[in-house]
């Protein structure tokens, strides 16, 4: 799949933002006033900025509001719905804390639940696609939740939570890569089933429909950049898990905290880039490519 910068930025930033809002909703850290305002502002900026970035890749962004209508069937619509709900609930919750110093616990829990739900719906947009075997597995939502919670704990300054959650996220990430590598082969979709010609003999793409490229190849067949996948996996893992863990274990300093957060974000960006660049869509089989 084409690793569009807007979608990579969206899933990374909004995942972190909603993760932070989950911890804020649960009352961590229990700050009020200006400090609380800063935490909420970062959460809303990341989550909202991510959503804005995702709107940039629409062909018709001016019609984006229509996406709220199909929550019964569409995960993308559900995501829009829950994101809006999160902003409404957490907005009210934040305003009460910042301006009145009152924390309504139930409202916070509700907001945290909505934020968690938004991350789940984001992941289900990818996990639902049978056409991309690497994404089509139960571990995909687990990975998105683990990274969102790990990054959220890191941003919220919850060191003990962050330590545990980052280790879990790292384990899930490795398992996801390991399982994902065999998904295309086990999906059962091959050039033989795609063309239905497998019963006759070995199928080979002889001639594409056109000499140039097209929307399908640009969007769904991204072969070139997979070459450095292994190196990039190591870089992603080091930046998003290993470096923050080390920085959290040494005696705490605010500068180290900032470094841990920046390193984590950079790592998740690399991991998300691989999430798209390594994913193979079955339509590539019609072109003899993957």
């Amino acid at each position: 799949m084409h690793p569009a910068p807007s979608i990579i930025a969206f899933t990374t930033l909004s995942g972190l933002g909603f993760g932070l809002l989950i911890f804020r909703g649960l009352g961590m850290p229990g700050v009020t006033g200006l400090v609380a305002f800063a935490f909420f502002a970062i959460g809303f900026a990341l989550a909202g900025g991510g959503l804005l970035a995702s709107a940039l890749h629409l062909g018709r962004p001016e019609r984006a509001l229509k996406a709220f209508s199909q929550w019964k069937t569409s995960w993308l619509s559900r995501e829009a719905f829950l994101a809006a709900a999160t902003f409404a609930i957490m907005g009210l919750y934040a305003a009460l804390i910042v301006f009145l110093g009152v924390r309504v616990t139930l409202l916070g829990w509700l907001g945290a639940l909505a934020a968690l739900g938004t991350v789940v719906t984001t992941s289900m947009i990818y996990a639902q696609l049978r056409t991309v075997p690497r994404w089509h597995m139960p571990l995909t939502p687990v990975l998105f939740i683990a990274l969102s919670l790990g990054g959220g704990a890191l941003l919220a300054g919850q060191i003990s939570f962050a330590l545990v959650l980052l280790i879990i996220a790292g384990a899930v990430q490795i398992l996801w890569w390991w399982q994902g590598d065999t998904r295309f082969a086990t999906s059962g979709t091959t050039m033989a089933t795609a063309t239905g010609l497998g019963k006759i003999g070995t199928v080979k793409a002889f001639e594409p429909p056109h000499t140039g490229t097209n929307y399908l190849l640009r969007e769904m067949v991204h072969v070139v950049a997979r070459r450095h996948a292994v190196k990039l996996r190591i870089i992603a893992f080091a930046l998003m898990i290993a470096v923050p863990l080390v920085l959290l274990l040494v005696p705490f300093h605010h500068l180290l905290g900032v470094l841990a957060v920046l390193s984590h974000i950079a790592g998740v960006l690399v991991s998300r880039w691989l999430f798209f660049a390594e994913a193979e869509h079955v339509v590539g089989l019609y072109y003899g490519m993957r």
Binding site: G59, R60, R63, S69, Q70, I200
Partner: protein
């Protein structure tokens, strides 16, 4: 709404005969022509006369080389357009309700004024049947020429999809698969029509007729051995030329 209908009154679709398709791409051109001039946004081209032309097409013809274990390789031309699946994954993923499957005839369509161009339906389709138009920013797909098949302003003979109407080798057939007596249902029964990627669970309506069996290696005529070359070494004048040229 993007909920799929439980069943449709008719199941309109195409049968594509891989035995008779000659790969002339006439269906590609007639499709582009009709669907650029009629229903919905035109199918745009980018840099059409330049070095790197691309464009939106609703129907494309691939060619495959298939090599049996015990026979010569075969070249099979393979037209591909929307298969108007019964369980269309492109419809349910749509966040705006722009994609829908019609209850009356099963045609999968896009309401272009509701499409936000998110591209998720194209990701959900295993067949590459949907293409985002780069000029219009909305998703385009085969409409089964919905503006031809019911169009009473056209002569009756023209009330079928443009690709079917134009095919010079009769490799494309249009009809109702819900009716077991229809021309297309009978063709599928007779020739063993198949689904593409059945494991994807899309239940495509369009069917493909596999190529009929071809000649095999080993069927040598009884007179064949008599056609072996008789003169192994050239003699006479030609032999002299051969030897002389060899010495040079």
């Amino acid at each position: 709404m993007t909920e799929l209908p439980k069943s449709t009154h008719k199941k309109l679709g195409l049968v594509i005969d891989l035995d008779t398709c000659v790969g002339c791409h006439a269906c590609v051109i007639s499709c582009k022509g009709w669907n650029t001039e009629n229903y919905g946004a035109p199918l745009s081209d980018q840099d059409p006369y330049g070095a790197d032309p691309t464009g939106t097409f609703l129907n494309r013809v691939h060619s495959y080389e298939v090599t049996p274990d015990d026979g010569p390789a075969q070249l099979i031309h393979f037209p591909k357009s929307c298969l108007h699946c019964e369980d269309a994954p492109c419809v349910t993923v749509c966040p705006t309700g722009a994609s829908y499957k019609r209850v009356e005839d099963g045609i999968v369509l896009v309401n272009e004024s509701d499409c936000i161009g998110c591209g998720l339906c194209a990701w959900a389709c295993p067949y590459g049947a949907r293409e985002m138009d780069a000029a219009e920013g909305v998703m385009k797909k085969c409409t089964l020429c919905v503006d031809r098949i019911y169009n009473e302003n056209l002569p009756e003979i023209d009330r079928e999809p443009a690709c079917v109407r134009t095919c010079p080798s009769n490799a494309r057939h249009f009809g109702d698969f819900a009716d077991p007596e229809s021309h297309v249902s009978q063709l599928v029964a007779e020739r063993g029509g198949i689904d593409l990627m059945p494991e994807q669970g899309t239940k495509p309506v369009n069917k493909y007729l596999p190529p009929r069996p071809k000649d095999q290696w080993g069927e040598v005529d009884v007179l064949g051995p008599f056609l072996d070359p008789v003169a192994e070494e050239p003699r006479g004048f030609l032999g002299w030329i051969d030897r002389t040229l060899e010495k040079l």
